[in-house]
Symmetry: C2
């Protein structure tokens, strides 16, 4: 007895993005009490940073987290950005898939789900409306607006409840949201650690955070320069697909294939257009609307056979070695630090990226486990800390593949060190929705290894120098301790003849050192040096502004 | 020099779900060539199964995969389901977030993204339109329609290109799609293995698959019964949130709180309504539209303090021990098999689920690595194979936590065994978008352990019996070999007196056995038996239809 198709489609319905994510909030990273709150911090901080920087303002954020009840919090997040014009406020906070970030630009957020996701979670767990205060310039005037609204999930838009105008004295946005079923934690994946890492990756920012106990943390700026604003760059020919070309052709106002190509892609000179014409035999004077799939494929095929200049890197603004150093010093107060910024390269043929790395040793570096400090890895993408899904991330994978013993760290796990890695790109190849791990593209793995080995080698030099200094100090100490004995010996010997002063001294010192160090220090030093030189000798010479490749040699230990 | 807010919002736009996923196809599980094709198989098979079963039809699917070029395939997928009425065809295949499956019902698909995701991938990689032939009953008539269409990504709907009516002789849907940048593979995560596992979890189905080499595989039905159709069940009071209640109140046609509760929740008798009234002091005669958040919270709070009958389990239809056994036998031809279906329990207080497990040993069980067969784990959720993200899955975690040595498997990895685990629920708590791993809820971990230990114990008995039989056979063999010697001995002895026949026999046999087995078999047997009895003695007695708990004892080995 089978049912007719029509009956089965009685219930057919279409969900709005908000309805969909209401049923699938784990897809927004909201799973677990600690992670959910960290994701909220992430989305709000990220958004404020992007807005401030885009407007050329040094970001300053105030976060106030109050505990109302068990697992129930009130969050106030205030920034000094350019503000949001009245018409866009509810769109930003209540319409999913809406945003201004869908361009080919290096920015922290990309998906139009951040702020609206936070409002959805707040509403789902507390039923409370969102309160947003926005102050912004309009012409010569400063305008201020306070809104109270809910999200209409069935319509994927805001539902205004209260509105009030006021006259502000500066620009910025303040959001007030309540959450239940979340939890504030000092754990590695908690909100506090998220802020700490954010400050390492964003030394130009200032964050004032009042925690639920009322304690106020002031994370100061380590650098007073707004990062250069990344420019929107046109996609590189080697990075586009036939589908991209068809999509461009459908939504362009250009009148010919060739003007479509030159205006939508980078590195596309008239000479290149001629070459495409020759290779594909397609009439590039045709109208974009008439572009057939086969033609798009033929053009992409030609792209892949042609030589182009590397992708423009004006769109990529790294944090910079000095700034990373400043940020890590401010937060970690380390005994030693080394940082590096690699030159831009591309993955998948046409997507440019830059890897930056740093290593801090001693001080507050590493994470405190009981009384001991162990090593920690801080992963970043476009300056945003990645706190989840580390297992599958390219950064973790690359670091694991390094033979740390080669860099004098026989037991990395138990070393008080913080390893910092940041990937900068207009298109970070995230592995999952939550944007918490980077796909292990071969070029990315290579760059992370190179950058990290570079700073690890500097740490090795420091540790070796430290050991040498310690030995030197020990020698002096021994010398002081033994001088009286030596003098005594000398005096004793003086009765039978002139003492061989040098010989006695050398003998005593050498014996004492060997005893204290449990080894022959001169010999050990020599061995390490030789190994090191062997590695260095295979490194290609360094040229230009950026670090050159410095591949690890996988010899036998 | 700061920019004004309005300028920054120049680019503000709203994406459709299709546009969003076009930019984020990895969120649909489309990442990597092999995985992408497996996901396509998954979505199409899943959809066909759900449709056929809902209509009370035994599913039969024909899949034809042709290789057109390197990484370029043509896929034809045909089912014998009830068909899709003309008006819904393009909605099913081109509108994301649209579907008939957003109910509280046990079904394989749940998100309205499956078929439209496949069309999107096809279009993105080949630019080719989709072809769908649907045959369905309308009244007493059989109607047939052939459509050719593309997806209008900007509008999130279909764009018709060709349409043709015809008169079919049976119902069903046939889809034809082309894909590039995908790859057919025999690897564990490839499309072929996906079909094989699907057949283990769905012994009532039949799949005929022609692979790209032209080889035709016929996976026969191991059971001829359409699974009982799961019923839609009302959510259990312990499983709803305040937000759920508000949502129900907003979209109900009921006139009072109390009728809203009784009609939308299970286990909600008049007596329970009175109890809620007493506990919350809320007037339950009020209109649902007037429900305040505080009231919804108070009601949910009362739910959590009240006693309710366990969630109804009529909505949960397990595969069943016998059917699993049939499916595993058909595919694995094992030497031994044990299966079990646990009784329904709930996680998070109100979501019912059932765990089923099976273990097959020998024959084609396990996966072939070189010449050897190693153990393999087949994870399923509502009969659907889970092929990715195994690391974080509750099933993997539970299996890892079992001390397999207790079950006579000192080296599980190198055992030719297939371990099958299926979770049945109206709401499987998936960890990620791709629905490839199950959240490690404590109750789920517990149930997976219990079910698996149950079948593992049966395997242990089998292996022990096998070993005993082998020893018995060896004894007979030894006996035969030694009879002539014994007779000779007897004859020799006969000259001096009557031989102690029994004594000689026993002595020779015992020595020979010990030599051959390298141990004292009687003693070893006794040890195992004692350990086993100790475990068994702590197991609670079994009652009722379903398996009782059988917690593993973590003693010292």
């Amino acid at each position: 007895m089978s049912q007719q198709a029509a009956e089965l489609f009685d219930n057919f319905q279409e969900l709005t993005p908000s309805e969909f994510f209401r049923k699938n909030k784990q897809m927004l990273g909201f799973s677990g009490k600690i992670r959910s709150l960290t994701m909220v911090f992430h989305e709000l901080i990220t958004n404020s940073f992007d807005a401030s920087e885009e407007a050329g303002i040094l970001p300053e954020i105030k976060i106030d987290l109050q505990k109302i009840d068990k697992d129930h919090y009130l969050l106030r997040h205030t920034d000094n950005g350019p503000g949001i014009p009245e018409d866009f406020i509810m769109k930003v906070y209540c319409t999913m898939f809406a945003g201004s970030k869908f361009r080919n630009i290096q920015s922290r957020g990309q998906q139009g789900l951040g702020c609206s996701g936070c409002v959805l979670l707040s509403q789902m767990t507390t039923g409370e409306p969102a309160k947003v205060i926005s102050s912004y310039e309009e012409g010569d005037e400063l305008k201020g607006i306070k809104l109270k609204f809910k999200m209409d999930v069935k319509k994927n838009k805001g539902l205004l409840m209260e509105k009030e105008e006021f006259t502000p004295d500066r620009t910025g946005v303040s959001v007030e949201l309540q959450f239940k079923d979340v939890s504030y934690s000092l754990a590695e994946q908690g909100a506090f650690e998220y802020i700490r890492r954010t400050m390492v990756g964003n030394p130009h920012a200032k964050i004032i955070f009042r925690d639920p106990t009322g304690h106020k943390y002031i994370f100061k700026r380590a650098a007073d320069v707004v990062p250069v604003l990344p420019k929107e760059v046109l996609p590189h020919p080697k990075g586009v697909t036939a589908d991209d070309l068809i999509f461009m052709a459908k939504h362009t106002d250009k009148r010919r294939f060739k003007s479509l190509l030159t205006s939508n892609l980078s590195r596309m000179s008239n000479k290149k257009i001629t070459e495409i014409q020759e290779r594909t035999k397609i009439d590039l004077n045709k109208r974009p609307k008439d572009m057939k799939w086969e033609e798009a494929e033929a053009i992409v095929d030609a792209f892949n056979k042609m030589d182009f200049m590397a992708p423009p890197t004006s769109g990529l603004i790294p944090i910079g070695s000095e700034q990373i150093e400043g940020g890590m010093k401010e937060i970690l107060k380390p005994e030693f630090i080394a940082t590096t910024t690699r030159k831009p390269v591309a993955y998948r043929g046409g997507v440019a990226f830059i890897i930056e790395a740093g290593i801090a040793y001693g001080g507050d570096s590493g994470r405190l486990v009981g009384e001991e400090r162990k090593s920690e890895i801080m992963r970043f993408a476009n300056r945003v800390p990645l706190t989840f899904d580390q297992g599958s991330c390219a950064i973790t994978e690359a670091l694991k593949s390094i033979d740390w013993r080669r860099y004098g760290l026989r037991n990395l796990e138990n070393t008080p060190a913080t390893i910092f890695v940041n990937i900068i790109s207009t298109q970070v190849p995230y592995l999952s929705t939550g944007k918490q791990s980077v796909a292990p593209e071969p070029e990315i793995l290579h760059e992370v290894r190179q950058a990290t080995m570079k700073v690890a080698r500097k740490l090795q030099k420091h540790l070796r120098a430290k050991k040498a200094a310690k030995e030197e100090a020990m020698r002096s100490k021994i010398f002081e301790d033994y001088v009286p004995i030596i003098l005594q010996e000398a005096a004793n010997l003086a009765e039978t003849g002139v003492p061989e002063y040098k010989e006695v001294l050398a003998k005593v010192t050498r014996r004492a050192l060997a005893e204290l160090l449990g080894e022959n220090p001169d010999h050990a030093e020599k061995e390490v040096e030789e190994e090191f030189e062997e590695v260095e000798s295979r490194i290609p010479s360094s040229e230009g502004l950026f670090e050159e490749d410095d591949e690890e040699i996988n010899g036998n230990e």
